[in-house]
């Protein structure tokens, strides 16, 4: 598929140039007619606005591929486990996966990779999986990308699922990108919405781009499986059905020893509440001003009965707090019951990471701060006065 420009029709009006989200169109110096460059993604935005129909999308013949795609059926979820613990995002994906699989009328399967993790299968069934594919192998004991990708690719080649979802976590994003190349599939990163086009059997993958300034809906027309990593906390798990069971298929693979060796694992959050799964989060931004001032936020977190401490990119970049606390586009996505943003201006990059929180409270002395645009309750005031007052009121 490519953008075709009929220069005889083009009047040089420039309407398409202004519309292109990728800046791929320009007007030629010599005659003002439109020209397209490498940034074009054939999204079609310009085709619709051209008043004279000079722009068309040329579709290549992909019938051969389409026929092969027909052989792929079923929806898979990568069941991410760490040290034998299933990660929340897996259950969230099973929840959404169940909905999508039912729409498509196919089975929902989980893929469990690890060593001595067979016991986790039951939980996957309880949360909605019809089948569990298990590769239990010493090479998979600690996560490293290469054997994980090898195992997943082998399963995909053999069982041919039409879609494969994984959490957009450090593990999911790390090895699924290898799988996509190995099995010659399309992969969409970091999705925040998923749906299906039942008729065309397409996974509709929506994700933020340009720092969250725009949303893009992406499909994978011919290649299979259609692969996506999905942000944690954007979908909710189903209520587990105790005793629900399914078919466990164990695949004995001959995996090579990992080329990357894990020497040591250091948990930096041992004594802290992790923002990623927290029900209450108190976040500090640039307005906090200095590392020692996070103490005020910790007091409030304590008064809330153990909230996690979050931070905006500004606070992390200033070196006031470690990046494990960062919320936003390049940090973690959170969905707590209460999110209290203190001295956070609310750049779009931050908002995409927290705007689906149940209740958002913002404290900022700038009444025009964008954070107030998403806050359920905004308090215009100095955080150095408001936060201690809140702590006091909560303790009363």
């Amino acid at each position: 598929m490519a953008l075709k420009i009929d220069l005889d029709l083009c009047t040089g009006c420039g309407a398409c140039v202004a519309t292109c989200p990728f800046g791929a169109l320009s007007q030629r110096a010599e005659d003002g007619k439109v020209d397209v460059n490498e940034a074009c993604t054939a999204c079609g935005a310009c085709v619709d606005v051209c008043p004279v129909g000079a722009l068309t999308l040329e579709v290549a013949d992909r019938s051969a591929m389409a026929a092969e795609a027909e052989q792929y059926r079923g929806l898979w979820v990568y069941a991410e486990q760490r040290a034998g613990q299933l990660q929340d995002v897996t259950l969230e994906l099973l929840g959404q996966g169940r909905t999508l699989a039912d729409k498509l009328g196919v089975e929902l399967s989980a893929v469990l990779l690890g060593h001595q993790v067979r016991g986790l299968g039951d939980k996957l069934f309880e949360y909605g999986a019809d089948k569990v594919y298990l590769v239990d192998h010493p090479a998979l004991e600690n996560y490293t990308a290469e054997p994980y990708a090898e195992a997943m690719s082998a399963l995909v080649r053999k069982y041919k699922p039409e879609a494969l979802l994984a959490g957009a976590t450090s593990i999911g994003r790390g090895f699924i990108a290898r799988v996509a190349i190995q099995v010659n599939a399309g992969l969409t990163a970091d999705c925040t919405e998923l749906d299906v086009d039942v008729e065309k059997r397409l996974l509709l993958q929506t994700r933020p781009a340009f720092g969250g300034n725009i949303m893009a809906c992406i499909v994978c027309p011919d290649h299979r499986p259609q692969m996506a990593t999905v942000r944690p906390k954007v979908f909710a798990p189903l209520a587990p059905v105790p005793g629900r069971t399914g078919e466990l298929i164990e695949e004995a693979l001959n995996l090579k020893d990992p080329v990357v060796r894990v020497l040591e694992t250091v948990n930096a959050m041992q004594n802290e509440v992790n923002v990623a799964g927290a029900e209450f989060i108190v976040t500090g931004g640039r307005g906090v001003g200095a590392p020692e001032n996070f103490k005020l936020l910790e007091d409030l977190a304590d008064a809330l009965g153990g909230a996690a401490i979050g931070a905006s990119r500004a606070a992390v970049d200033a070196g006031w707090i470690s990046s494990f606390h960062q919320v936003g586009q390049t940090g973690k996505t959170v969905r707590p019951k209460i999110y209290i943003a203190c001295g956070v201006s609310g750049q779009i990059q931050h908002l995409v990471g927290m705007s689906s929180s149940d209740t958002i409270i913002a404290i900022n002395k700038d009444p025009d701060a964008p954070i107030f645009g998403v806050a359920d309750i905004g308090i215009v005031g100095d955080l150095f006065q408001v936060v201690p007052a809140l702590t006091k009121a909560l303790r009363r």
């Binding site: 490519a2 202004a18 989200p21 490498e38 993604t41 054939a42 999204c43 079609g44 935005a45 290469e146 450090s170 593990i171 994003r173 790390g174 990108a177 290898r178 996509a180 190349i181 190995q182 599939a185 399309g186 992969l187 990163a189 970091d190 781009a209 340009f210 720092g211 300034n213 725009i214 893009a216 809906c217 992406i218 290649h223 080329v259 990357v260 894990v262 020497l263 040591e264 959050m269 041992q270 992790n274 990623a276 990046s323 390049t330 209460i338 990059q349 958002i360 645009g373 806050a375 359920d376 309750i377 905004g378 308090i379 005031g381 006065q385 408001v386 007052a389 006091k392 009121a393 909560l394």
Partner: protein
């Protein structure tokens, strides 16, 4: 040691705004910059070069002709060689096709011991190209790296995960995607800038890279963008101001208790 660093020219997304009437990105006045995470990858390479004399750093980018700007910036900071992979044939590449194209360009270079990438690009945020190139090159890839040490052909890398970090060991060659925490990127030196000014960069075309034309550009890209739209604005709620902090704090706590949230 030969280190290849892949960099991308991106619009500074912190400056990008949406025109609410046309629903399109306002790109006017938005500067093009080296992807910030790629700066960390380049800095990691330059620091390794300082530690290990004789190391050569080659910076590779794929993009339109104006992407030479970021290559010149890289030379200003101390890169030894640069490659601009530029051809209409690459137009519309998604991460699959991009990683293939980059791997063919790297394949034309002296065999690298280390291939570095930024964690992700701030325009696409996919984090897929680094691991993808590694597959094409047949290398292992460690994502989210914040520190590296190299001795006797082996790298020890700190890889960040959600709750902490892991220390990993791997034999070279390998690929790495680098985090912001890794370092503070240097600024170009005066002599580097002068050298960059004199530099003439001839683009490497698809043909020169030896890439299979069937694997390039939009037609070889499995994914398609079918719709672009502005994120739905979330309506703000109430805003309290002009009152004593204690009064507002108490009202908030009362409200949260009433809703049984605390």
């Amino acid at each position: 040691m030969h280190i290849v660093v892949c960099v991308k020219q991106v619009p500074n997304t912190t400056q990008v705004r949406i025109n609410p009437e046309t629903n399109t990105l306002i790109r006017d006045g938005v500067e093009s910059i080296m992807n910030p995470f790629d700066e960390n990858a380049l800095e990691m390479a330059l620091q390794l070069k300082e530690k290990h004399p004789g190391t050569k750093v080659t910076v590779v980018t794929m993009g339109p002709p104006q992407a030479v700007d970021i290559l010149k910036e890289a030379v200003g900071r101390g890169a030894d060689a640069v490659v601009l992979l530029s051809d209409r044939a690459f137009a519309g590449s998604d991460t699959w096709a991009t990683s293939y194209a980059l791997s063919t360009a790297i394949g034309k270079l002296e065999k690298p011991d280390l291939v570095l990438f930024g964690k992700q690009a701030i325009d696409g945020d996919t984090a897929q190209v680094g691991p993808g190139v590694a597959v094409w090159l047949g290398m292992p890839c460690i994502t989210y790296a914040r520190a590296i040490e190299i001795a006797d052909g082996e790298a020890t890398v700190e890889r960040l995960y959600e709750d902490g970090y892991e220390k990993l060991a791997v034999s070279l060659p390998c690929a790495l995607t680098v985090l912001k925490e890794a370092n503070v990127p240097r600024m170009a030196s005066l002599r580097g800038k002068m050298a960059a000014k004199k530099l003439v960069i001839e683009p490497m075309t698809a043909e020169m890279s030896g890439a299979d034309p069937a694997k390039l550009g939009l037609n070889a890209s499995p994914t398609r963008v079918v719709k672009i739209f502005s994120p739905p604005p979330k309506a703000g709620g109430v805003k309290w101001q002009g009152e004593e902090p204690e009064v507002m704090a108490q009202r908030l706590v009362d409200l949260l208790r009433e809703r049984k949230l605390v």
